[in-house]
């Protein structure tokens, strides 16, 4: 609760204030070595998987396209290292399913410079043309949804985009990669914003940064373009400030209508790191072969932000930061929304912004009590849903009722409700179960 005389920082209603553990935010980004073998899944984005265009035994150069995009809502995959294709076979992925991947044995002796680039002359291209060029560099959203960025930027028919929101909130605890990018690569972010504005046609861009990253704000301010089309707005440090709906609400006071996309209210949102990569890679015509990943957590001996080649298996990554033997639970992403994984053979992909390792003690299962109707979850839900009722319904498998009467599909799984529940009821998990059931049933019908 904010007292009346306190200065108001732009924010949204409800939400939570978890412990942030953002110690790695002060460490500069460092480079990560190449694992002996890289496992590059063909599907690292939302949309159709890429189609492999290499064969087993073929030698590939770093930056070379090894799988091509399958249509507009797909992205090409570039070789993350120079080496030889050892296999194209299923490997485990974070959902627990198996996915096709190209396995590259990395040439140890190679310097691993990017060997293949395909630069275009970007001047004079209109928005759609620029988007097509953008597809070639294979950038997917780094904010979590891994939607192909070029496709996201093109305004849907009949929509006029008036604002590009650049999401620099990074509200998840532990994660600091966006923070470091803003501090270290402000210039490239600005370049990326420029390209993105050209594609989506927005006359202005607003960068939203939480007030616990004021050094990032300073760095960005120094790099702002002179024409004033880009502004920075500080928002309250609160989870989930970075979610599209809440940030849009905090910055513009607009609400995305239920069941619609944010483009319907003239807004398109990109993550800062997404735009940093666009700004860096697009002029060079270089493919995405690596990304900055926060590696942290109580079980990690050398936490930090690392530039990790895509396809690096977690086993190798955790070994290197001194975590493998002490880790009990490994999470891809932040602690609030990230998924725990069942296998260390899973590789780092374009959507992995953080790898967190927790020790035995931190993953103890608390006793679950029945819901005591305390309403904490209702007061925490940033979407103002009714998690109490949905949780009770889910326990009785009343999934249809949840969807019909309680806006199940609007839940963006931020986890605030589970976080505050004194009964330790796994609310979000139940909502995900409900959604997955309804989706499966719809697909099979």
């Amino acid at each position: 609760m904010r007292l009346p005389f306190q200065k108001r920082v732009a924010t949204f209603e409800h939400g939570i204030h978890p412990e942030y553990h953002k110690e790695t935010g002060n460490l500069p980004i460092r480079r990560f070595p190449f694992a002996p073998k890289l496992y590059v899944p063909l599907s690292q984005h939302i949309g159709k998987p890429a189609i492999a265009i290499v064969t087993v035994g073929q030698e590939v150069l770093r930056g070379e396209v090894i799988a091509r995009a399958d249509g507009m809502f797909s992205l090409p995959i570039h070789a993350p290292a120079t080496g030889v294709v050892e296999a194209i076979s299923p490997i485990p992925c974070d959902t627990g399913e198996m996915e096709m991947a190209i396995v590259i044995r990395v040439y140890e002796a190679d310097g691993q410079e990017v060997r293949v680039r395909n630069p275009h002359n970007l001047d004079g291209l209109n928005g759609v043309e620029l988007a097509i060029v953008m597809q070639e560099i294979g950038v997917a959203g780094k904010g979590g949804a891994v939607f192909p960025t070029h496709a996201k930027l093109i305004p849907p028919n009949g929509c006029v985009i008036d604002t590009l929101i650049v999401n620099g909130s990074e509200c998840e605890p532990f994660l600091t990669c966006d923070h470091r990018i803003m501090v270290e690569r402000a210039q490239q972010i600005m370049a990326g914003i420029g390209y993105a504005m050209r594609v989506c046609g927005a006359p202005r861009a607003i960068i939203g940064v939480e007030d616990n990253k004021l050094d990032a704000v300073a760095a960005l301010e120094a790099a702002l373009p002179a024409d004033g089309t880009v502004t920075i707005k500080v928002v309250e440090t609160k989870y989930p400030q970075g979610a599209a709906e809440t940030l849009t609400h905090a910055l513009l006071g607009r609400e995305v209508p239920v069941g619609k996309r944010s483009s319907s209210i003239g807004v398109v949102m990109n993550n800062v790191m997404t735009l940093a990569y666009v700004g860096r890679l697009l002029p060079l015509g270089e493919g995405m072969t690596e990304r900055v990943v926060t590696v942290a957590g109580p079980a990690v001996a050398r936490p930090g932000n690392y530039i990790v080649p895509l396809g690096t298996p977690l086993r190798f990554l955790l070994d290197y930061v001194g975590a493998k033997s002490s880790a009990s639970e490994v999470i891809l992403g932040g602690p609030m929304m990230g998924n725990a994984i069942a296998s260390l053979d899973i590789p780092v992909t374009k959507g992995v912004c953080g790898v967190l390792a927790f020790g035995k003690r931190e993953v103890a299962v608390p006793h679950t009590y029945p819901c005591i109707h305390c309403g904490e979850c209702v007061n925490a839900c940033p979407k103002k849903l009714n998690p109490t009722q949905m949780g009770l319904l889910a326990a009785k498998r009343e999934y249809d009722l949840m969807a019909d009467k309680f806006f199940l599909s609007e839940c963006f799984e931020c986890g605030c409700c589970s976080y505050v529940c004194p009964s330790h009821i796994p609310l979000v998990q139940q909502f995900r179960v409900a959604k997955s059931f309804l989706k499966d049933r719809k697909n099979s019908a």
Partner: protein, 195 residues
């Protein structure tokens, strides 16, 4: 003896003298048709309507009976008229609002055997209510019945989401809820009566 004011009658029949919770009238639909709000509300309204119809017809019928000195026929004539009225309402709804009928179909005939309907007719006669008082009595009774039904439905919908022990599930838990509701309504005793 029958100098109760309209407001008093209304208040008494809705709260402290609630047909269901204090007078035990209309228990069967109260326990039977209260699983869901979506059926409880139309059922309550339909019953309230029939109660009103029954009360008005009973009032005039009673005038006739008194005129002919046939008071001993009151039960049989009231109930027959009620039964026919319900059947007419049922046919009417079936013809004009088939959708509503599909939802309520099974419950409509039940109203005939709802003690509250006959109860209103008999009690208003026994208390020598005049027309306005009878009207207030039946309207209050209908509202009270609907109120109890709706409260009960809300509680039972909630019960469906809790882990009621198997032994208590079903009728027992509804009866207990009814008891607790009735216990709560005891707090209203005295309202509308007394000074």
């Amino acid at each position: 003896m029958n100098n109760d004011t309209i407001a008093n009658i209304l208040l008494t029949t809705i709260l402290p003298g609630n047909f269901v919770l204090a007078m035990f009238l209309g228990m069967c639909p109260f326990l039977g048709v209260s699983q869901k709000l979506s059926t409880a509300v139309p059922m309550g309204i339909a019953t309230a309507f029939v109660i009103l119809v029954a009360s008005v017809s009973a009032y005039f019928l009673n005038m006739l009976l008194v005129h002919f000195h046939l008071e001993f026929l009151s039960v049989i004539t009231f109930i027959t008229v009620i039964a026919c009225a319900v059947q007419l309402v049922e046919m009417f709804v079936k013809k004009t609002f088939p959708e509503l009928f599909r939802q309520l179909g099974i419950y409509l005939p039940l109203i005939t055997t709802n003690c509250a309907v006959l109860g209103v007719a008999l009690f208003q006669t026994a208390r020598n209510y005049n027309f306005a008082q009878s009207l207030a009595y039946s309207i209050g009774g209908g509202i009270g019945f609907t109120l109890a039904l709706i409260l009960m439905a809300g509680l039972r919908e909630r019960m469906q989401l809790s882990n009621v022990p198997t032994l208590v599930q079903g009728a027992a838990i509804s009866v207990i809820l009814g008891g607790l509701l009735s216990l709560s309504f005891m707090g209203f005793s005295g309202i509308g009566g007394g000074e």
